[in-house]
């Protein structure tokens, strides 16, 4: 990219180390006078010259990546508690392989090694969070390759990728190994924890149960009464306080990182508080999902009860993980404040639409990927009004 080529120019301004004694002969003779004849203290020092500002903040790319990784730890702990040690192993495999692939590609293409910035490791962790508990060990490795090699490095590395690498990895895995990616029946602990009808359906995620049940209840005449009653019971369980509570805590089937909404929220709130993550995208994303599913996602059971699903859709599936950690990926989301809100609302609407009427039970990852593609456009059309431009317009009109 031309940006890289031109980098040398400002560097010249920024880093000119000048050793005073060396430079002195090149300069014209200093002003005569007794002060000059005295030993000038200038001779003692070597001065670095750079362009202002001379103070820099403490923020650092690697610190951001580490902070995000740390914020994911509570959710990972939750996953280990609720699902088992396998989730930790998968996360480590994904993270290590992502770092290794990044290093390999950068060595092969003779570019600067940047694995120390932590972005590759974070991509690996996020990818693993998007995998079901029972996937074979090689799946995260393949996913990491897709994420790092295809989605990130092929576009130019950190900062230049158009799509969220972890989600591209997940999308490729979902397209290539749909069985592995949608099999949830190997979660050993959940059977014991959930003592409800969800038990009978523990081979599927709550979202799949909801989608299936909603489809059954929409046209109950087509199904046998047993299926209908099971569906209506599932819906009332899932949208009832017990179901929402279990979803929030994480005692349900799902991807490694999707289990506990509360633990994800806890980590993300800390990130928002320390200023690593902007609140606009998570809030607008979750808000859009909530509002949209609250309006259009209600399910009525045969006994006439209306079940409100707004809260269920917030807690279930990847909504929290997506809103808090995937849609807030800096590189692939807008830089402007207004743009972030547009991004969040757009992605939230897409996710809700896919969930309610799409072919998949879950639409979070595709919603974010689709909005990623729109990010440059959003950035371009949400350029903030410069200080004084409103006033200038008024003056021109007057």
């Amino acid at each position: 990219m031309s940006v890289e080529d031109n980098k040398a120019q400002p560097d010249k301004a920024a880093e000119t180390r000048s050793d005073k004694p060396d430079k002195a002969p090149a300069k014209p003779k200093k002003a005569p006078g007794k002060a000059v004849k005295k030993k000038d203290p200038v001779e003692l020092y070597e001065l670095s010259v750079s362009n202002a500002p001379h103070l820099k903040g403490k923020a650092k790319t690697s610190k951001i990546m580490i902070a995000v990784c740390a914020a994911l730890v509570p959710a990972l702990v939750g996953s280990v508690l609720f699902q088992g040690w396998r989730s930790l192993v998968l996360v480590i495999i994904a993270a290590v392989s992502a770092v290794v692939f990044e290093a390999l590609i950068q060595l092969l293409t003779k570019r600067k090694l940047t694995i120390a910035d932590g972005s590759a490791a974070l991509t690996g962790v996020l990818l693993a969070f998007n995998l079901p508990y029972g996937v074979p060990w090689w799946l995260p490795v393949v996913g990491s390759f897709a994420a790092i090699a295809i989605a990130k490095q092929a576009f130019g590395g950190l900062g230049y990728n158009l799509f969220n690498p972890a989600l591209v990895g997940r999308a490729i895995l979902l397209a290539s190994w749909p069985v592995h990616m949608t099999t949830w029946d190997t979660v050993p602990k959940l059977a014991n924890l959930s003592g409800t009808t969800i038990d009978a359906l523990s081979s599927a995620t709550p979202l799949a149960v909801m989608k299936h049940s909603a489809a059954v209840l929409a046209e109950p005449g087509l199904y046998d009464p047993g299926a209908v009653s099971q569906a209506s019971e599932a819906v009332s369980q899932l949208t009832g306080p017990l179901g929402i509570g279990k979803l929030a805590l994480g005692q349900v089937g799902g991807c490694i990182g999707e289990t506990s909404a509360l633990l994800l929220l806890f980590g993300a709130l800390i990130l928002i508080m320390i200023g690593v993550v902007d609140w606009r995208i998570p809030l607008s994303y979750l808000g859009a999902i909530f509002v949209f599913t609250a309006i259009f996602g209600g399910v009525t059971t045969p006994d006439g009860t209306y079940h409100f699903t707004g809260l269920f859709h917030l807690m279930a599936g990847g909504a929290m993980l997506g809103a808090l950690f995937m849609a807030t990926d800096m590189v692939t989301t807008p830089v402007t404040k207004g743009g972030r809100i547009i991004f969040g609302i757009g992605a939230g609407l897409l996710a809700a639409i896919i969930r309610l009427w799409g072919g998949y039970p879950e639409g979070v990852s595709y919603s974010i990927l689709l909005m990623n593609a729109a990010t440059p456009l959003i950035d371009r059309y949400t350029t903030p009004k410069f200080f004084g431009s409103r006033r200038a317009k008024e003056a021109a009109n007057a």
Binding site: K34, P53, G388
Partner: protein, 524 residues
């Protein structure tokens, strides 16, 4: 979100009179401070104007006539005035904020550059070998936008020659050898104007020009030009800038504390010259003693108020200060006179008072010599033209081997590579910092995190403006704000990838501005 609310509020005010009234009433109820203001102006509700005021800024009436009764919000509100955006760099004021101004020793050699201001350099009126009195004119203004220079000491002109200049390169300077006798004997002063209230404003402006006074906050724009608005404009407010938002610097703080009387008198003169009805001294909230002191001094004045501004960089930037104090936004590409405001540094007001009441030209100034590497950081009262090396000696020299030497503050000052540079009219600080960590210069890729966009006090998109500036793309750079950048450096400060954002924008800004000016000319 706040912006969103603000937009709604404004729309309401404009198109729905009643809802606008309602919003105003709620504002008035929730903040007793504004009630006072609104009744003071006789404007209840906002049917005829608009409320742009957000949480902190003062309301701005679109059709407010210049000179209308107007008061800045008072710090009793408990809230400091502020603008949108900005950063909070570490202050580092503790090195010198408690140290009184010390008169620096008489220099052993004086170098007076003929160009210490924006505009044409001064034309020398003395020659080699001339004997000088302290205060004697050395160079007269070289044009309309220019300033005179005077000798700060009695002595002899060694020569008029090129000398290293703080802005880089060699510039002509008058080099003076001070007289040996240790004193300056009789000063050559202009005739004092004891009662400026009875003098024509033109005469006062002429005196300011004769005294060689320029903006002493660092911009060094000739004050005599700035105080006279272009035809069709007039000032209704004069703001004295005592924000001193640059980290490390404390000389304005000390000047306000120790010589506040003259600052207030300078402001009164400015009010008289401009005919403005309101004088405001704006001080950042981290100088409560200065706020209290100046309040005490101005408590009898009906026209002058002292306000407290939020501690935030760049609070002292002209447009941001106007926004914070009056709520008015200087239009893009415009100057403060467009919103009827004149901003002057407190040091400039002091110099004006001296020039009028004592007839003394601008030959001395306060500056802060500081930094973690300086043995005894000090606030100094120095004569212009004193070489930095002499001042450094008086502060005990440096601790440590390698350093950065910056003239001005750490955010906008210029790094220098030699110590024989003279103190000039715009030198507010001499800063000695440890060598930069090596990673300070290694850029990472832009993460598009938007931090720079969030904090830009001008509401620009620094990351993209920098990108296109480097690519030399004038159109796109201007689209993202390269022409409107105030070069405060906040973006480079917050960037986690340590990108050279403001530095890159500075590269292309002159070309973008030039093109904008050409376009404006073509349009006429």
């Amino acid at each position: 979100m706040t912006r969103f609310v603000e937009v709604i509020a404004r729309r309401d005010c404009k198109s729905f009179f009643t809802s606008g009234m309602e919003i105003c009433r709620r504002r008035v109820k929730s903040r007793p401070s504004l009630r006072g203001d609104l009744t003071a102006t006789g404007q209840r509700g906002c049917g005829s104007g608009r409320v742009v005021a957000k949480s902190t800024a003062f309301r701005y009436q679109k059709h407010e006539p210049p000179g209308a009764p107007w008061r800045a919000r008072q710090p009793e509100d408990g809230m400091a005035l502020t603008f949108k955006g900005g950063i909070h760099p570490p202050e580092f004021k503790h090195f010198t904020e408690d140290k009184a101004l010390v008169e620096a020793r008489r220099p052993g050699l004086v170098v007076i550059p003929l160009a210490q201001h924006i505009g044409a350099p001064a034309k020398p009126v003395v020659g080699k070998g001339d004997t000088l009195k302290a205060g004697q004119l050395l160079g007269e203004p070289g044009g309309f936008v220019s300033a005179a220079v005077h000798s700060p000491v009695a002595g002899k002109v060694l020569k008029i020659a090129d000398h290293p200049h703080a802005m880089g390169g060699l510039k002509p300077a008058v080099i003076i050898e001070p007289a040996e006798d240790g004193g300056d004997g009789e000063w050559e002063l202009m005739e004092p104007i004891a009662e400026p209230g009875r003098v024509e404003p033109e005469k006062l402006v002429e005196r300011i020009r004769a005294a060689g006074i320029v903006g002493m906050g660092g911009a060094t724009f000739p004050t005599s030009v700035k105080v006279v608005p272009p035809k069709g404009h007039e000032f209704d407010t004069v703001i004295l800038n005592g924000a001193e938002c640059e980290p490390f610097l404390t000389c304005d703080h000390r000047l306000m504390l120790e010589r506040g009387e003259k600052i207030v008198r300078g402001l009164e003169i400015l009010l008289q010259i401009t005919g403005a009805r309101n004088g405001v001294i704006a001080i950042e909230a981290n100088k409560p003693d200065a706020v209290a002191h100046l309040k005490e001094l101005t408590k009898d004045s009906a026209r002058i108020s002292v306000v407290k501004c939020k501690v935030k960089y760049p609070q002292g930037a002209e447009k941001q200060l106007i926004k914070a104090v009056t709520g008015r936004e200087v239009p893009v590409g415009g100057l403060p006179f467009a919103v009827n405001v004149l901003v002057q540094n407190v040091g400039t007001a002091y110099a004006i008072a001296e020039a009028i009441y004592e007839g003394k030209p601008l030959v001395e100034r306060a500056l802060t010599l500081t930094g973690p590497l300086v043995s005894e950081p000090k606030n100094l009262w120095v004569r212009l033209g004193t070489p930095v090396s002499e001042l450094l000696e008086q502060c005990g020299g440096l601790k440590g081997e390698a350093a950065r030497f910056i003239m001005g503050g750490p955010m906008m000052g210029m790094a220098q590579h030699r110590f024989d540079l003279p103190v000039a009219k715009g030198t507010s600080g001499l800063l000695f910092l440890p060598p930069p960590p090596p990673e300070a210069f290694t850029e990472g890729p832009c993460l598009r995190c938007g931090k720079c966009v969030d904090i830009c006090p001008m509401n620009l998109v620094p990351c993209d403006a920098a990108l296109y500036s480097r690519a030399g793309n004038l159109d796109e750079a201007e689209r993202y704000g390269a022409a409107d950048c105030i070069e405060c450096g906040s973006c480079s400060f917050v960037c986690p990838a340590k990108r050279h954002l403001v530095q890159s924008i500075k590269l292309l800004k002159p070309s973008v501005l030039k093109r904008r000016a050409e376009r404006a000319r073509a349009a006429k």
